[in-house]
Symmetry: C2
Subunit: 603 residues, 2 copies
């Protein structure tokens, strides 16, 4: 138990048989040389690292947690975390999808994304340390000055230093316009920054020599609200010289950890209260445009959070499956299956299978979707044709909130179902199952709550451009439907997919019209709407996967069991999970009145 | 935060305005004197005890947990637990619904049930100690010898001793037929019992002088499987004499705690591994009929588990509501609501209201349902007319698995939604919210997993008598529908209720037919089917509550705000929660093939 094996076969299936990444990457000059062999090899090695180095630290890290010393303000990570991080950077893993000019390996985002699925499956709390560094890398790469990039990026790419994102304050999380941390300009173009931040993941730790904090703060002349927020680079240790690139560490900056939080899960990751007391920082990007710069970080982070829950779904599934095959309890209702034993393994029971298949389907659907989305990011970044880049960018914008919210909601459902497979044993810490559930719970909250994702999707990504992005993605689904519409073997998938696509269009138009009368209609429909779109996306990918499986099974007399499994999982998805849309559409259509009618004091 | 106020107004509404308990109890000779005043007074005092004595220990108890000393095998409960228990027994609370002849107060089960809602809302882990004792009381009352009852019941009724239920062994939980603990008859009519039990809640602790264990074990001549299990009474300390009733404690029995479990939640309750090493015990009831005797305990316990989640739903709702009114974040999409403040309170946002109303509706629907079910138990026990007793017994049999599984699944959804209202703050232990979620999770597992409840409902309670019990309850719903079918103001409730009732009949018949061909169809449909029935029941009670509210609001020009709130909540339930049945019915109808097709090795 508490074991993890990287799902390499399924990753290869998604990448090569469904998405044809090699062909797609050939169109991108930057990645034209990245062939299937390289990708498979990287994932195989990554899977080994995840399974052998950090997976064994997941349970112990949860039990031990992080330690905070109030005297020195130091945070110590759980036993083994630091050593594993050393192995990680010695093997060059942080550089995987970073730019070559800063020491990176220039591999595509799609590879890094699946690599992170494995890291998260093995140990989400540990993975947050390098994960946040990679986010800081992307933000600096996009918005830093040449000097900042030359100084800091090589350190983040090598993993010698880690990064954070310091947004939240005690009184503001979602509503960053309220933030109060102040930045006072100095004569030398630096700033003195003062304020307090909370919920800073990896804000302080013992794993790396330096920490590069990206801090949101207000300049003295800042307009009120979210249009007056600037982004600053605030290193834990100041560099000795801004012009050199040797990165030797100078004096300790006036940013320190005041406490770490006791949380429901991710105990191995230090969630820090950070105090800035005239800390020295440098502006990243333009004044008052800090939120825009931060959104580069946030978008990548949102897919990253989806991958956290995908990883947890996969590892929870593997462990529940192991238990369900071994645990003997009751006889199958349709006749004894294991007469040589005192009872049948519980995997004979339909309801146990329902729970296992829920996790299996959400893992496999999520993997195909996430890999597709990551590939669009690669296209957005590197396709030579601006039009293709724009289409990819639109898809990334549309699909990112779905990746964050749908995948994390499903992760919560799936890990809880997997825990249920173990009965009382799943509630005991030692099984490891309840940790997956607790860890999965934060993913619905941070990097923008799932409610905020839903508003972002419906309000900003769908309604703001009169559904243009959605229509573009819908046209792609429509093309698939038409391509396979006369294929009888695909009928069981194409019919419900086409039906849902029609319903999504109607629903979108209906909400758009209602929202013109009352903007609260957007908030009232958004959460259900996002899940409807999530299912549209998963149905589309399961239909594609089913098609590949059907073709392969036709080729071979007995058929590779992998494809039979895939086909069964797709059928399960269409029969048992997709029908959630029947409820969701009713909820989304039910309007704002049933939510808004009650006076506040009557709650 | 972390506060609790007993929902007395809503309890009174349910008891007096919806269920008319006074009139109902007058028909029961035993409770004919129990009037509304007595009931209200008891609940008010009970609410005070819950809120002031045990609620303050909930968070600290979770953080501290129980302590086990391997040298002495002793368990120490968290600070304050023992003193609170002393207050509890000094006030006579354990005796509330116990028989007068053993020192009880003879109050109806319906009162005790709502009392337990409050205890659980305040502190589920603490409440499990007296809760299990009450279960042991009921089991002994029904199956004990006169001697056993005279000796043990007064101690359980006073609370001087507590009780447990020792069923599970490491290799068997659901499938008790596999259990191995042995009982060897002795010359003096006692038994020497040897074996190991796990997951024994309150199996060892420091709160009471003695613990009365009810232990399942096998006699030497026992048939294999579940028909060879007997029930034994195994006190921690042996009584000095079996014939006396002074209950002075003799020697320590050979039953001891080997370890306590580290769990996801209910940390304040000791979950013990119990070792019996030739422990002295006495048979309860007939040989080999232990499971039947235990089921008295289990049925009451199953409603009790439902009440645990109802309590957690209510307290999570109260705390999320408090936060939603205070926390300022963003502006309402439909215009600024609190211009004097930097942002609007988050309760202006539709999606926050959706989460709050989900918890509110599940709390109020669950309360009405649970009180009704408890009243049927009172009727089953004490109605002078055998026919009425039988009808009540049938309803209790039918509705108990729904109370256990539907209420605990809803409690999980609702506490998680309430935690989400707090965003990142909800994930921090200090908020108290994440504890409600962790505590609520066990309720879906113990006393028979929710999957087992679903099988019990569909297989045993519905299909086994060809739907007779369901038809009887359905007729009651039908009568209500006909009574209000022409009432226009009730149309919004009656129409969907009637629609669902028709669908339930069709669904039941369809499953019954399919099950004749393939018994796995029962297991494949059961979990969704149980939730469909749960919604039928809640829709029925919300329609009744709406009717009362409509009548009251018609009487008064402006109307008591309580009734306006109730009406809004009912509308929310019908608009947003009941539509889950659209999905559930599709899932229940989708059949066994999508679950059973996949070979075990292809998972």
């Amino acid at each position: 138990m508490r074991e993890y094996r990287a799902p390499l076969r399924d990753m290869q299936f998604v990448l090569h048989e469904v998405l044809h990444v090699e062909k797609e990457l050939q169109q991108l000059p930057k990645h034209a040389e990245t062939d299937a062999d390289i990708i498979n090899q990287v994932l195989e090695e990554g899977g080994k690292f995840a399974a052998s180095v950090i997976a064994p630290l997941n349970y112990s890290g949860d039990r031990e947690g992080c330690h905070f010393d109030p005297a020195s303000h130091a945070v110590t990570t759980p036993q083994g975390f630091k050593a594993a991080y050393q192995q990680y950077i010695q093997a060059g893993w942080p550089a995987l999808s970073c730019a070559q000019e800063y020491g990176g390996q220039d591999l595509p985002v799609v590879v890094n994304t699946l690599f992170y699925e494995m890291l998260n499956a093995a140990n989400q709390a540990w993975t947050m340390y390098p994960g946040l560094s990679h986010g800081a890398y992307e933000c600096l790469l996009a918005h830093g000055t040449e000097q900042q990039k030359n100084l800091y990026l090589p350190q983040l790419v090598s993993g010698a230093w880690t990064g954070t994102m310091c947004l939240t304050e005690a009184h503001c999380g979602t509503d960053l316009g309220l933030l109060r941390t102040k930045a006072i300009p100095q004569a030398d173009e630096s700033y003195k920054i003062t304020g307090s931040k909370i919920f800073i993941s990896a804000g302080e730790h013992d794993m790396a020599a330096n920490i590069v904090h990206l801090v949101l703060a207000r300049l003295p002349d800042a307009p009120a609200g979210s249009k007056g927020i600037s982004l600053f680079l605030v290193p834990k240790f100041l560099p000795n010289s801004l012009s050199n690139t040797d990165a030797s560490l100078g004096e300790r900056n006036a940013i320190s950890c005041g406490a770490i939080e006791e949380k429901m899960g991710i105990h191995g990751n230090a969630t820090c209260q950070m105090h800035l007391d005239g800390a020295t920082g440098w502006l990243i990007g333009e004044p008052h445009k800090g939120l825009n710069a931060m959104f580069v970080f946030m978008n990548a982070a949102r897919l990253g959070v989806g991958m956290q829950s995908l990883g947890l779904t996969e590892v929870a599934y593997q462990n529940a499956l192991h238990y369900a095959k071994e645990r003997l309890q009751m006889r199958s209702l349709s006749g004894v299956k294991a007469p040589e034993q005192a009872a049948d393994p519980i995997i004979v029971h339909p309801d146990v299978r329902r729970m296992l298949l829920t996790a299996k389907a959400y893992a496999e659907g999520g993997r195909a979707f996430a890999a597709y989305l990551a590939l669009q990011i690669d296209k957005e970044l590197h396709h030579p044709d601006a039009k293709v880049r724009q289409i990819a960018a639109d898809q990334v914008a549309l699909l990112t909130p779905i990746a964050k919210a749908f995948m994390t909601d499903n992760g919560w459902l799936a890990t809880s179902d997997c825990m249920q497979v173990l009965g009382g044993h799943g509630y005991i810490c030692e099984s490891g199952m309840e940790q997956y559930v607790r860890d999965a719970r934060i993913n619905m909250i941070y990097e923008g709550t799932n409610g905020i994702q839903a508003l972002d999707l419906l309000g900003r990504k769908v309604l703001q451009d009169q559904g243009a992005k959605l229509r573009q993605f819908g046209a792609q689904i429509q093309a698939f439907i038409e391509q396979h519409g006369l294929d009888e073997s695909m009928d069981e998938f194409i019919t419900p997919l086409a039906d849902l696509a029609v319903k999504v269009n109607k629903l979108t138009m209906e909400i758009a019209m209602k929202a013109q009368q009352n903007p609260d209609e957007v908030g009232a429909a958004a959460t259900a709407y996002l899940r409807v779109l999530g299912h549209l996306v998963y149905a589309y990918f399961f239909a594609q996967m089913a098609k590949v499986a059907l073709v392969e099974l036709e080729k071979q007399e007995h058929g590779d069991p992998f494809y039979r499994s895939k086909l069964s999982t797709a059928r399960f998805y269409f029969a048992r999970l997709l029908p959630e849309t029947a409820t969701l559409i009713r909820q989304a259509r039910s309007g704002a009145a049933n939510l808004m009618a009650l006076d506040v004091e009557l709650f």
